[in-house]
């Protein structure tokens, strides 16, 4: 084992930067707006509607047109949510801001900011794998690229989502043959709908969904996403669910809500399921490697595609990726944020 391989933590700071980190989150001084702040601010540009990127209580929000309904659903009533079509430009102060598809979940965006000829792009969360529930990631040329790094280790490489969907389907069939229910845990926003859409090529059967999944799935349907028909989970004897597939958020695992399914098999969809220790420790019967984030090759490819001369890395294994990029001759550094690594 090579000793002394201590990764250096590169810190990011320069007063001339177009985007800086503050106690409230990423901030653009020239345009006077925040991006995905983690405290209430006056004006927030939102990359997508996951909880760690959409903090309630801001004066006004700007999000993509495709993601506006989701954001509105997750924010208190009367919140001001402004929508911008992908590619449309809006002026904020001396900056021009536009949103571009990030391929993470429905309505997810990269934020492009131009100021006096310099272009910065904040990726938000993104992936490069095809996803029938949202617009595909669109490379945007820039000078400085701020990228997520959730899965920035070479161990994380995703199998094709069609193969994973087939695995889920096979698991469901196997449980049905034994007369038990299959409870699949998946994030209520994005992952659950992606599973429902991926499964359409294998079956036409209806799937039961937890209440938290149901309301968001309705929004996806209204936005024109094709998915399997869904049924609400109601009070019913365990026999009613025998052989059924149920999709629920991970928070439902181990709760009394689960009792109604009796003896069931459980599965979890996440990029973390790539590693056996994580699969076994979480206590689910099955782990399915299905992620809405970029894997190691996709991160490298996207950073290369951006053409950026400087790379800043946010949450996850940012220190690892920045060291690797620096060794490859790039100018890369870590930018500290409070975004989560949950998936």
């Amino acid at each position: 084992m090579a000793a002394g391989s201590v990764p250096q933590i590169y810190t990011h700071s320069s007063a001339a930067d177009l985007i800086v980190t503050t106690a409230d989150g990423l901030y653009c001084p020239a345009g006077a707006f925040h991006i995905d702040p983690w405290r209430p601010v006056q004006r927030a540009v939102i990359t997508h509607a996951h909880g760690d990127h959409l903090y309630p209580g801001c004066g006004e929000y700007l999000t993509s047109a495709a993601g506006a309904a989701l954001a509105a659903r997750r924010l208190p009533p009367d919140t001001i949510v402004n929508a911008l079509a992908y590619g449309e430009v809006r002026d904020f102060g001396a900056t021009q801001v536009s949103l571009h598809p990030a391929g993470h979940v429905l309505g997810s965006s990269q934020v492009r900011i131009e100021h006096q000829g310099a272009v910065w792009v904040v990726s938000g969360d993104y992936k490069r794998d095809p996803d029938p529930t949202c617009a595909p990631f669109e490379p945007v040329a820039c000078d400085v690229f701020i990228s997520e790094a959730t899965f920035a280790l070479p161990a994380y490489r995703w199998p094709s989502s069609a193969a994973v969907a087939a695995e889920i389907h096979e698991w469901w069939r196997g449980n049905r043959a034994r007369g038990t229910a299959s409870v699949l845990f998946a994030y209520a926003l994005g992952k659950a709908q992606r599973v429902l859409a991926e499964l359409t090529s294998l079956t036409e059967e209806a799937v039961y969904v937890h209440g938290a999944v149901a309301s968001l799935t309705d929004i996806y349907r209204k936005e024109g996403v094709t998915m399997l028909p869904t049924l609400p989970v109601a009070e019913a004897p365990a026999a009613h669910y025998s052989g059924a597939l149920i999709i629920a958020p991970p928070s439902a695992a181990g709760s009394t809500w689960m009792r109604r399914f009796g003896d069931c098999s459980t599965g979890f969809c996440s990029g973390w399921m790539r590693v056996r220790g994580d699969r076994r420790r979480r206590g689910y019967d099955r782990g399915f490697v299905l992620s809405d984030h970029a894997d190691w090759p996709s991160l490298l490819r996207t950073i290369r595609d951006s053409g950026a001369r400087r790379i800043l890395l946010t949450h996850g294994h940012g220190d690892t990726l920045s060291r690797y990029l620096c060794e490859q001759g790039a100018d890369a550094a870590v930018m500290h944020t409070e975004y989560g690594a949950e998936e």
């Binding site: 000793a3 199998p159 590693v275 056996r276 894997d295």
Partner: protein, 539 residues
């Protein structure tokens, strides 16, 4: 191989023991005999002689991965398991990589993987070994690549106990589990012949074949709860190696509880045993014994560690066998008879031996539970671990069956240590920091004294893992040194002088009792405190 890999995956992805037994039984029924025998061997935790070490695999991985060495190690540190890191980085089906032309051909039977590939590795020179093994990595998928690495380097941990394997075999062969146990004890070579012998209830029929050991359960409530004192035999719980002397057809064999033959390591015991009548099997404890008292376990360990026994070590650390029980007499299995009877017969045959190398385990005479409890308090001074309580009517069972044999141990020693280092665990814990090293104060520095792997609950493990990641001082490969902050109360069973450890002491069976968040690092124990315990113990 693919079939066994599928079995492994089924076992790895279920938490229900009944389902595990079911999938194993299914495999045993359908697999070719030789494969089934190898599967039993591997699932029971046995391993073939290692022909490639972890450090070689690690070196080859760095050469093969096409990544900087530090990044491979960073990944290894996060994944926590070398066999899996290899599978994730270089297996044929790593997404996005081009699988080379498959030279391995069609799937090879599990048994032939051993006989034709893994075992012959031992005869290859290093370059040829490297070519073979890295060739397998490139041509196997994630699942098989992971498995082959595990088989190369040692134990395959898949949450299956020996007893689960025997349950599955009992179902397949429609035999009682105790017969299966007998067929699997001791040394045997996996093969189709062995499998068929096991099926015919012949199994490993070594002339020196031992019986499965009967184990006591820890006594948790008060001893008085066991009923009348006179129904119970009380004897000391000796601190040595549990063993069985098998005397048959003019031969003597000494077995350890780990089912290893240790005859050659204890020539004085074997010599004494050669005077036993033929067709006798005695259960007992090998201890180090000098000047009329038992020596601490650490002395016995020195004896076991020596490959060559010199006259000096035989003189410095003499061994004895303290006999607990008689399992076979005149070639007849007497385990179903009551302990009262077996012990009487044991006393009779031991009386015929001269010398005291093999001696009857003394009975503790105290007639009331209260007096017995007082005796237990004296256990440490006698150099024993506590008291054993065995029902006089009990037969000699298999494994750990609660009810008739209890161990009533003395309370362990305790100390407060500071967390110094952490490394990832294995299996279920492979990407969590769960292997901890603790230190105590020597002046104003902390010296490591104990490693512990158990004692925290799942939530504490998670919390500590997060803290470790956020408060790492340095990384040495997969080991991290952390800030000196958290104090833990640890228990241990004994202490010995050590020249191998910087602290000069070695603790026996340390484990975590409590996370002492109420204590600051400065309040942890001093090395001098441990040295005092050591000094007291040697008096």
């Amino acid at each position: 191989m693919q079939r066994f890999a599928a079995l492994f995956e089924s076992l790895d992805t279920t938490n229900a023991t009944s389902a595990k037994v079911e999938v194993m039984a299914e495999y045993f029924r359908s697999a070719p005999a030789a494969d089934a025998a190898w599967a039993v061997y591997v699932l029971m935790g046995r391993r073939v002689k290692r022909s490639v070490g972890q450090s070689l695999l690690h070196t080859w991985l760095i050469e093969e991965a096409g990544l900087p060495a530090w990044l491979v190690d960073e990944t290894y540190g996060s994944v926590g398991d070398l066999a899996e890191t290899i599978a994730l980085l270089v297996a044929a089906d790593v997404p996005g990589t081009q699988a080379p032309e498959c030279g391995l051909g069609a799937d090879l039977a599990f048994s032939r993987w051993f006989t034709e590939r893994i075992l012959p590795l031992a005869d290859l020179d290093p370059a040829a070994k490297r070519a073979q093994v890295t060739g397998w990595w490139r041509q196997l998928g994630y699942r098989e690549c992971f498995l082959v690495n595990k088989l190369l380097t040692g134990a395959l941990r898949v949450g299956v106990s020996r007893s689960l394997v025997t349950r599955a075999l009992a179902a397949v062969f429609d035999q009682p589990r105790i017969q299966i146990e007998r067929g699997l004890i001791g040394e045997w070579q996996p093969s189709a012949d062995f499998w068929q012998a096991l099926a015919r209830n012949e199994g490993s029929r070594h002339v020196s074949h031992p019986y499965p050991f009967f184990l006591a359960s820890p006594l948790e409530g008060p001893a008085a709860g066991l009923g009348a004192r006179e129904q119970w035999l009380a004897e000391w719980k000796w601190d040595g190696i549990r063993g069985q002397i098998v005397r048959r057809r003019g031969e003597c064999t000494l077995w350890s509880r780990g089912e290893e033959i240790i005859t050659a390591r204890f020539p004085e015991i074997t010599t004494a045993a050669s005077f036993l009548p033929d067709g006798a099997v005695i259960d007992g404890e090998v201890v180090a014994w000098k000047e009329d008292r038992v020596l601490p376990f650490a002395h016995l360990q020195q004896r076991i560690g020596r490959l060559k026994l010199t006259a000096k070590i035989l003189q410095d650390i003499p061994a004895r066998f303290i006999a607990y029980d008689l399992l076979e007499l005149g070639g007849e299995d007497i385990r179903p008879q009551p302990l009262r009877h077996r012990r009487r017969e044991l006393a009779v045959i031991l009386e015929q031996l001269s010398g005291q190398i093999i001696q009857l385990s003394p009975q503790i005479p105290e007639v009331s539970w209260q007096d017995l409890a007082a005796q237990r308090q004296q256990a440490r001074a006698r150099g024993v671990e506590g008291i054993m309580l065995k029902n006089w009517e009990s037969h000699y069972g298999t494994g750990r069956q609660r009810g008739s044999w209890w161990k009533w141990k003395i309370d362990p020693f305790v100390f407060d240590g500071v967390l110094l280092y952490a490394a990832p665990g294995n299996g279920r814990r492979s990407n969590l920091y769960t292997d901890y090293t603790f230190g105590v104060w020597s002046g104003d520095t902390l010296v490591p004294v104990a490693k512990a792997y158990s004692g925290l609950n799942a939530e504490e493990i998670q919390e500590l893992d997060r803290w470790i990641r956020a408060h790492t001082r340095e990384k040495f490969g997969i080991v991290r040194s952390v800030e000196s902050h958290y104090v833990f109360e640890l228990a241990y069973e004994g202490i010995a002088k050590s020249t191998r450890h910087k602290s000069g002491v070695a603790l026996r069976f340390p484990r975590i009792l409590r996370w002492r968040k109420d204590k600051a690092a400065g309040e942890a124990d001093q090395l001098a405190d441990l040295q005092r315990v050591l000094a007291e113990q040697r008096v």
